[in-house]
Structure formats: C-alpha cells, structure tokens
Amino acid sequence: MKRMMVVAFVVTLALAFVFFLSAAMLELAPAAIDLRVPVSAHLTESGVSHPVTAVLLNYRGYDTLLEIAVLLLALVAILAVVGEAPVAPSRAAHPVLQTLGRLVTPLMVVVAVYLLWAGAFRPGGAFQAGAVLAAAAVLLHLVGLLAGWSSPRLRLRIGLAAGFALFLAVAAALLKQGSLLQYPPDAAGTLILLIECGLTVSLALILAGLFLFLAREEGA
C-alpha cells in the first residue's frame, strides 16, 4: 500500500515535470548569444576545419582534458575496487568465429586510423577512433583470442596514462604562449593531431580496460 503511494507520487511528479518543461520550452524566444558566429570566425586559427573538433580540442579543450582525467580516474577506481583476481581462462569460441575475428580486427584498425585522420576536417576524431580500437579488443576477447587483463604491469600502466600525460604536458607547455592550451595558430593543427594520436592509443587501452579488467573470474 505504502509502496503504491510512493510509485503514484513519483510518477505524478515525473509527468508534471515533463508537462511544465515542455510548455516552458515551447514559449522560448531565440537565444541572446549565438556561438556559431565566433566558432566559424576563428576556425582558420584553430588548426582544424571541422567545427566540432575545433570546439572539442581547441576552444573547449580544457573540458576534454578534464574528461580524459575522469576516464582514467574511473579505471583507477575500478582497479582499486576489483583488486587482485585471477584472470578468467579465455573461452575459445567456434573456429569460424575466431577466423572472423582475425579478419575483422585489421579492418577495424584501418577504420580507426581513418577516423583519427578524418577528425580534422569531418566527423570523427580520437574518441571514435579509440572506441573502435577498444571494440576490436573486446571482440578479440569474446572470440577467445585475447585473455582478460589482470592487474596492469608497468608497461600497460604507462600506456593507459600516456595519452592524458601527453595532453597535460602540451597544455602546460603552451602556458608559454600566454595561457593554458593556447595553441599558436600555425602549429595548432600539428599539436592537435599529436594530442589526438596519444589520446587514441590511451583511450583505446582505457575503454578496452574498462571491459577486460572486469572480465575475470569472480570470487576467490
């Protein structure tokens, strides 16, 4: 009975919220500020020609820096939570699936490299590329060609942290230009590509790690 009342209360609240929110949205006047104007006005100085990449890695690159910190931090937290545990024996899948995995993986690597390169002037970039690489690793794990990871050794830890460390170092070095992450316009394209390459490797390792560090035997 009490439970029913709680459910009814929450549902009513949610419906009322949606109603008022929608009504308030529909009566809205145009926004006072249109950021599309400065975004395209400074595009030539940003080092890339795709506006979203310009916002992501140049205008609001600081958000992205902190966001990579969040990702790395989540991985550290997961490692601290699961602790030491034996690695699950990788379950060998059907040979056909394994062959398929062997064939698809190089293709996914090619797609990732393309996405990374394309990010400068059209949709794509480090995140998508890293995610595709991570998906390849997950696929290899699922068909039994890649074992789950146990607690990371030094080399893997360096790989996981390298992209973020590189980004941080570039951000700090650019203080010389006058402020954090202030790219000199003529070198911006190169620096952004450098950061994106580092991020792709580390993002792939971190995203794959979110999966592979968890994919081990429970209990013990």
């Binding site: 009566e27 926004a31 500020i33 600081y62 910190a69 937290a77 602790g83 203080l175």
Partner: protein
C-alpha cells in the same frame, strides 16, 4: 597580471593531475611522498593566490586564449581563494596522516594516491571555473573519485555504501547537467560572466525550472537533509583518511557551487528558495545531531555530526543580503573542515588502537592516548561553537546577521544546535575518561597519526584568533 608560466591558479589544477597520474604509473600504494611534495607546493600556491586576491588583483585566466563565451574562463575571487586555501591546508596534513595509516600492502590504500590527486584536482578546478558546463565535468571528477575512495578494497558494507553514494552523486550531477542544458538553450552560453548581465529579473519560466534542477542536484550532492541518506554509510564506512577528506572537503564543493550561483548569475532567481533551504538546514541540524547522539559506532556518530554541521551552511541563505552571512558561511566551512578532518583522523587512531569502531569501546582512551583524545576534544569545541574556536566565530556571525535582519528563529536554531553538539561530543569524552576494562588491550599507534590529527584539531580552534585575515580575503571580492 601573472607571468603565465607560474600562474598559481593554473598550477593548482595541473599539479595534482600530474602527481595523480605519476602515482598511478608508479603502481598500487605508491606515490605518497610525491603527493605530499605536491601538496606542499599547492599550499604555497594557494597562499600566494590568496595574497594576490587580498591585494585586490583580479585573477582571471582565459584558457586557450579565447576568452568567454567561446572559450572557458577561470576566475578567482575572495570566496574561491578561501576555498582553495581550505582544500590545500586540510589535504596536506591528511596526506601525511594517510601515508602512515595505509600499510604498504593494504588493498584499501591501493588506489588512494591517484584517486586523492584526481579528487583534489577536481575540487581546485571546481573552485576556479567560471563556466557552467566545465563545472559539470569537475563535479563528475570529484564525485567519481570520492566514490572510488569509499569503495577501494572494501567489504560488502563499504561497496554497498559506495553504490548508494554513486547513484546519489550521479543523479545530482544529472540534474545539474539538465539545468545547464536548459540555460544553454535559453541564453546560448554557459559562461558565468556572460550570463551575469543576461539573467535579469524577468526570466523565462525555463530558467526557473533550470534553477530548481541545479539547486536540487547540488543539495543532493551536499547531503542536505532529507537527501543525506547516502552520507552516513559512505563517510562512516570508508577508511579514516578517506572519511576525513570527504566530510571536510568534498561536500563543501557542491555547497560552494550553490553559493557561487546564488551570488552570481542566478541571483535574481535563487533567493526565492532561501527560506526553503534554511528550513532544510535547520531540520538537518536537529536530525543529524539526534542521530549522532544515538549512534553506536564512533565513525557513524561523526558522520551524522557532519549532516548536522552542513545544516548551518544553509541557514545563511535567507541572510545573504548582509555581508556577515557570506563570512559566516566560509568561516563555518573552515571550522567544520578543519575540525571534522581532525575528528575523523582521531577516530582512525582510536579504531586502530582499540581494534573496534564503537563508542562504547573507547573506555580508558584518555589514559592511553591522551594526544588523540585531546584532539577529539578540541575538534568538539569547534563543533559546539565554544570561544575562541573558529566554530564560535562562524556561529557568532550567523547570529549577528540574523539579529540584524530580525530573524530570531535562526538564532534559536543555532543555539539549540550547539547544545545538541555538546551532548554527542561529551558522550564520547565521558567514555574516554572511564578506566580501562580489564580485558581490553590498546595496540600502539604511530605518533605521526596522533599528531597530524592533533594539528588539524588545534588549527580549527586557533583559526578563531586569526579570523580577521579570512574575512579581509572575502571582502576583496572584485
């Protein structure tokens, strides 16, 4: 204007990020000295920054050189300088404490240094950010790091507490994010400085909804009654250095953000919620104190005391017309931050020594661990608000502001809260003075632990004598 390469504002964010990453690369449980060295430098930076702000220098840093609204601005005024100062000065003794608290192979300490580094970087970034969406990212940085610290290496109770905390913090930042999305929709910007002239007295209804979402998200993260449900298990169940960090600093971060928006871009909207927040604050004082009086476990008692002490922070909202109210809020944040860090640190010593986390198990503690019990008592003095402690100064200023505006009801709440705090503090101290039962043995505990707890507790009392500097810093709002 600062020489950009040594701008303290930027390095307060970069430095903890750097030592957190290095500590992760070094491996589980390593990096303690690195963190302490980093925090020493950060303390110096924070003092340096506070001096600049006191001298009336406007400290703004346009990340990427673009400037708002295209880029993200970082800005420091007296309020944020004070919060930065509090964070670094509480974190440094706690880092020294934690280094001897966690044994080399302790699974609870495995991720402590990198997680703490990210936590402090997130808080520092939050205190200086002048961009609503960037603030969302810093909120997530702080929230996830705090959850990781609660869960690390723990048993079922701790993991359950961490999950409860995680959902609370995610719902909180989700509501905040939706609020920011609505603000962006209405004004086309998320920069605080750009929003300031745009949000006038006549705002669209959507801004009201956005403000309500932002404030509810943030009070959920600050654990204001009745959204405090996640705090006692998380703060009471975590290892002592983590409890201290969370209770002293993390909950203040989201409170700071409410205050920042209240005094800044949402100043024409938020004051409508003033008495509601004060009412919840008063309820928090009574409910938290009552639960602390009844608590069986020592760290539960201290965690419920945090619920109560956070209530004072919200009493100031209807009074913000007077400058004393802002001073009271910051003084209370300092008083509670130092005192609660000292108290949880002392509790960690007592638990290590007695091998149990119950209030009843403290019998004889005064005889065996006089320094630690003295630290506990000093923290207690600040929480009760006795002179000359900083807690007294904070409560005195709330009372002054309330009387000046004729709100005597707030005075009653403050005085009653002080009495209730005395009940739960003396409950612990009285047991400590009993003689040790025959069958109980005390394990010897490192001096570093005892004295770092003492330093924090003593600082909370002594700050009361140097409150003027802090008030001057706040007065320097530009």
């Amino acid at each position: 204007m600062n020489e950009p390469l040594i701008d303290p504002l930027v390095w307060l964010i970069l430095l903890p990020l750097a030592w957190a990453t290095l500590a992760f690369v070094l491996g589980p449980g390593r990096g303690g000295w690195l963190a302490i060295a980093g925090l020493v430098a950060q303390c110096w930076l924070a003092f340096n920054l506070a001096q600049q702000v006191s001298a009336g220098v406007a400290v703004v840093h346009a990340v990427g050189g673009w400037g708002a609204p295209l880029g993200i601005d970082l800005a420091v005024d007296g309020l944020s300088a004070a919060m930065l100062l509090l964070t670094q000065t509480v974190a440094l003794p706690l880092a020294i404490y934690a280094r001897s608290y966690f044994k080399a192979s302790d699974p609870a300490g495995a991720g402590f240094w990198p997680l703490t580094g990210f936590l402090i970087a997130g808080m520092n970034a939050l205190f200086v950010s002048a961009d609503l969406f960037n603030l969302y990212v810093t909120l997530e940085l702080v929230g996830l790091a705090a959850v990781g610290l609660v869960a690390a290496g723990g048993g079922a109770q701790q993991v359950a507490a961490a999950l409860r905390y995680l959902f609370a913090t995610l719902v909180g930042s989700g509501a905040y994010l939706l609020g920011v999305a609505l603000i962006y929709g209405v004004y086309g910007t998320v920069s605080i400085a750009t929003l300031l002239p745009l949000v006038t007295n006549e705002v669209p209804r959507l801004v009201w909804i956005a403000s309500a979402l932002i404030v509810s998200g943030l009070i959920l993260k600050t654990a204001l009654f009745p959204f405090h449900f996640w705090l006692p298990p998380a703060h009471g169940g975590a290892p002592a250095p983590v409890s201290a960090l969370l209770s002293a600093l993390v909950v203040k971060a989201s409170f700071y953000l409410i205050l920042r928006l209240w005094l800044g871009p949402l100043q024409s909207v938020l004051p409508a919620f003033g008495w509601l927040l004060a009412l919840l604050g008063a309820a928090a004082i009574f409910w938290g104190s009552w639960q602390a009086i009844r608590a069986v476990k020592l760290k539960r008692l201290i965690a419920y005391s945090t619920v109560a002490q956070l209530g004072y922070l919200f009493l100031i909202f209807p009074l913000l017309a007077a400058p004393a109210a802002l001073q009271a809020a910051v003084m209370q944040a300092f008083a509670h931050g130092l005192a609660k860090a000292g108290m949880f640190a002392a509790a960690g010593v007592l638990i290590k020594a007695t091998g149990q986390d119950t209030v009843a198990g403290l019998a004889g503690a005064v005889e065996r661990l006089p320094v630690t019990m003295f630290a506990f008592a000093l923290s207690g003095i600040t929480l009760m608000g006795l002179p000359p402690s900083s807690g007294f100064l904070a409560k005195w200023q709330i009372i002054q502001a309330a009387l000046a505006q004729g709100h005597w009801i707030i005075v009653v709440v403050v005085l009653a809260g002080g009495l209730l705090a005395a009940v739960y503090v003396f409950r612990v101290l009285r047991l400590g003075f009993l003689s040790t039962p025959e069958n109980v043995t005390f394990t010897p505990v490192s001096r570093v632990l005892e004295w770092s707890a003492f330093a924090l507790a003593a600082a909370s009392v002594l700050l009361g004598l140097r409150g003027v500097e802090l008030i001057q810093l706040l007065g320097a709002r530009t």
